[in-house]
Subunit: 367 residues, 2 copies
Amino acid sequence: MNGRPQIETVEAFGMKKHNPKPATGRPTIKTLSILTGFSIATISKALHDSPVVTQETKDAIRKAAAQVGYEASLRGMSLRTGLTYQIAVLMPVPSETEFEWDGVEYTQILSGISLALEGSPYRLAVHVVRDAEDGLEVARRIVIQGIADGVIFSGIRAQDARIDYLIEVGFPFATMGRCRSPLQYAHVDVDSEWAAYAATQRLIAGGHRRIALINPDPVLSYALDRIDGFRRAFSEADLADCDDLIVAGDLTARFGKSSALALRSQGEPPTGFVCVNESTTLGVLAGLRELGLTVGVDADVIAYDDINVSAYFSPPLTTLYLPVAQLGQRLGSFLLRRLAGEETSALAEVFRPELLVRQADRLVGGH
Amino acid sequence: MNGRPQIETVEAFGMKKHNPKPATGRPTIKTLSILTGFSIATISKALHDSPVVTQETKDAIRKAAAQVGYEASLRGMSLRTGLTYQIAVLMPVPSETEFEWDGVEYTQILSGISLALEGSPYRLAVHVVRDAEDGLEVARRIVIQGIADGVIFSGIRAQDARIDYLIEVGFPFATMGRCRSPLQYAHVDVDSEWAAYAATQRLIAGGHRRIALINPDPVLSYALDRIDGFRRAFSEADLADCDDLIVAGDLTARFGKSSALALRSQGEPPTGFVCVNESTTLGVLAGLRELGLTVGVDADVIAYDDINVSAYFSPPLTTLYLPVAQLGQRLGSFLLRRLAGEETSALAEVFRPELLVRQADRLVGGH
DNA sequence: CGGCCCGTTGAAATCGTTTTTATTTGGCGC
DNA sequence: GCGCCAAATAAAAACGATTTCAACGGGCCG
């Protein structure tokens, strides 16, 4: 063999070549160097499967590494490579005044992402943000200060400054939701247009003609998608639209209740409600109840099923189910693949929710 | 002045002393060194407000730092100090089969912790765990591999292996909940004994004699606390206990419903229900409804209010409110103080929930 | 007036990696 | 048998901070 280390010979001459200090505590690359007699450079290369290292050498080094349970220090790697091995997730924090149920599905998103990151050297760091502007600010800090190697966020707006910024600076990210600009980026989304269409269409088929859409703030991209689907259901059925029954607000139960009350006191009140999540749905149910109306008789409600409790509502409701944790997992793996250099064009997936029928949604009474 | 840097003189002699390379990109300690003429050692000390540095020097260095917007690189600090500047939060992931509502309050806990960490160099890293055993495993890895500087976790058991381990190895942590061993550690807790007592006592005062306690798994410390409070209410009222009406399970709506159904088909069915969270409560309500019973007439329910939606239940329920996000914030600040060297004895706080009366809880009908 | 101490700063080592560059050795061709 | 090339490995220089120790000058004491 050629350049094999000859540590005995060298030491015999009293030369101080190749003599890393004995490691204490956790094994480092130096520990392996002492153990195997190879230099730390070779160790590093061997562990990275570099082609310049002999197979025998690799085997020996890997064996030693396994023996002492060596794991590369993220600190050292991080300093040298400039990577952080952190994935930042921008988590919206419920505003001071609105604590209700807000963001409950984030637990599932986080656990999904976390699952995807398992086995990779990446870790999940949570950064709370107050709103989209704050989100942009935080994203900027993450990029400039090099706090993370990639970002994940949701609450995508039709025109999203965070997406624009991150694409501009070329920083890796993945989003839950799509903006309306034709840009390329890793994302997972829900087919909200279809979901709203399906829900509305189902109510129309049940005989409803006046249907309300309880929607989030229309700066959000998926709010617009929902409006699109809502309208398509009417136009395909050759019916007059119900644009006057589209209301927008936060996703709380309070908003659902006040919306139901306000809408029902209109000239032509709705008999059907297409809700945006289980929280607002609960509010709508409470509002209808307060008006003395019975769901399933005087009105019908259909909703997204974000935390799987609609089955226990009174009455149980038909919902559009979404595997939120699975969306999160996909989101995490997309970002990992993006970080590994994959093209973003392949990193997109749109989930179509599953209809869970728990009620006839047929207009029994009138209004 | 004594040892002031004389960079011109030195350079005039062509000596290569004190000559850090020009920094590119983000300003580092070297950038400041060049800018101010002081050595990186002095810069570091000045920024740490070391007493060995003159005030004038500190001022000059700080001014330069502010000017270029210097922020110390966590990477560099981390490698040298051995710290990670990460706080690990062990987040229970809903098990495969039980997705319902599980862990929804974690969003609030996380945002609370995150708020507490703001302004500190620490960042919040989420680690999902499947159960307590997995939690111990993850905690071990965090300690051994030095993944974080401190850990936060909840779901404390009466006898908690994670607490035992972390105390044994002297690793900083803070918990949501207390174990039953008389150990010293930073924690935040809810006065569950009182909460269960207050709820039970209120139902007793309303005329209820047969009361069910819907409880989590009794390996959990707070489950035992709840049983204690539950029993105290009966003994203080000189009534026969209802130990036969204590049921334990997961915190899902499904469990609430099945419990209600099972309990009501007993010999002496309960007319009052003390629930553990809003999810199980929803299930209990659904179960009672299925039996044709009306809450407020045939039965009464009282619950913890973890995500503030009980007001929209049918009927609205009296609950024990907890400021979950505030608990999280306290938890975060306790851990920070612990990391700063504070004694754990001062780092403990027990929250007593606030009773939100939304219903009479008076037994109107019989059973 | 000389030595010692003290106050202030600088130089250098260090943390654990990666990566570039240098060195060694054997084989091969002539 | 000599020189060159390629293969394999070692050495050294980073990355950005902290910390120990040395250096340097001035003031004070004898």
